[in-house]
């Protein structure tokens, strides 16, 4: 069972470059909340709680976004959909929250994590991860934090394709072509010489 997290945000009326810059000076991050029904609420959030939440949730963990309106707090299950960062400073400059319907299937990208040492690597091959993220389709509360792939049985010049992945129940990978996610590349001597000269 995933931990239920929440983040308090305030709606903002100030918009535009100047207003957003003034917010950032006060350690506030301008953002936007939207959902599939067409709701759009410009919000602002303190930087530190947002950073801490982002470390825990990534972009695939649903949390409660508490929007503190004048009529009282509104709680909306959301995902952190997009984060814009400053090019040189370790700061978030803007954040998008996507409100999810808990009964409706969504598509999200989930990171791939590889475990084990492949047979092919022991024989001198090289493990290559072709995709860092894979797109999955599932209910918001079933989104896995990561997709773990065990590569222990992988021989040289063999791949694990997206169709072969063992995903949790209710989670389906989305793909048109059955692409390779991870594989062991076994380089011949001629290829080695070519690589060494470059």
């Amino acid at each position: 069972m995933k931990e239920q997290l929440s983040l308090a945000v305030k709606p903002r009326s100030a918009k535009g470059k100047g207003a957003c810059r003034r917010m950032r000076v006060e350690s506030l991050v301008p953002g936007i909340f939207y959902d599939s029904k067409g709701t759009n609420i410009p919000v602002m959030v303190s930087e530190l709680p947002l950073t801490k939440l982002r470390e825990k949730t990534g972009s695939s963990h649903v949390f409660d976004l508490v929007i503190e309106t004048e009529d009282g707090p509104q709680t909306r299950p959301s995902l952190i959909w997009n984060v814009q960062r400053h090019p040189t400073k370790p700061r978030i400059t803007h954040v998008d929250f996507y409100g999810v319907d808990l009964d409706k299937v969504i598509r999200v990208s989930v990171p791939v994590v590889v475990t084990g040492k492949a047979k092919g690597v022991v024989l001198g091959g090289k493990l290559e991860i072709f995709r860092d993220m894979i797109e999955v389709e599932c209910l918001p509360l079933s989104v896995p934090d990561q997709v773990t792939i065990d590569v222990t049985q992988l021989d040289p010049n063999e791949n694990i394709s997206v169709a072969d992945l063992v995903l949790p129940e209710g989670v389906k990978a989305v793909f048109d072509d059955d692409y390779a996610v991870v594989g062991v590349v076994y380089e011949t001597e001629e290829e080695d010489k070519g690589a060494a000269t470059s």
Binding site: G58, P87, T88, S109, V110, D132, D192, A195, A196, S198
Partner: protein, 137 residues
């Protein structure tokens, strides 16, 4: 060394490098990279020297991306020539780099090896840089 195959004009005005990089500011292809922390002009020789430093350290295996391209011409007047009489002759190429720009990326080697290779490359560059790791979701 990197240089354009063909250009519309042989010489270019210097311009200025104001503000941070808005594009090419995150690690996109590799796992770890070098990010520029100040603006500067990297010549094709410097870009190549840094690339060679990376390749010699990682030996074989892995993949390296160079995220900048020297597409600005450098001109120079001959020694002991008075000012005037037009702009000098093209002598090389440089890439205009703004703070935040990712310069090199590496994938497919151990993180320690990659970081050491990038540190060696950083010593070849005339601007302040730092190592950045790809952010995973």
């Amino acid at each position: 060394m990197l240089a354009p195959n063909k250009t519309k004009f042989r010489k270019m005005q210097k311009g200025r490098l104001r503000g941070p990089a808005t594009r090419g500011a995150s690690v996109s292809f590799g796992e770890v990279g070098i990010k520029a922390m100040e603006h500067g002009k990297l010549t094709s020789q410097q870009i190549e020297a840094a690339r060679v430093a990376i390749m010699r350290h990682i030996k074989r295996g892995g993949k390296v991306w160079i995220r900048i391209f020297p597409d600005h011409p450098i001109t120079e007047k001959p020694a002991e020539v008075r000012q005037g009489k037009g702009k000098g002759a093209p002598v090389g190429w440089y890439a205009a780099v703004k703070p935040g720009r990712v310069l090199y990326e590496i994938k497919g080697v151990d993180m320690d090896v990659a970081k050491t290779a990038l540190t060696r490359a950083m010593h070849k560059l005339p601007i302040k840089t730092k190592i950045v790791v790809k952010e995973v979701a």
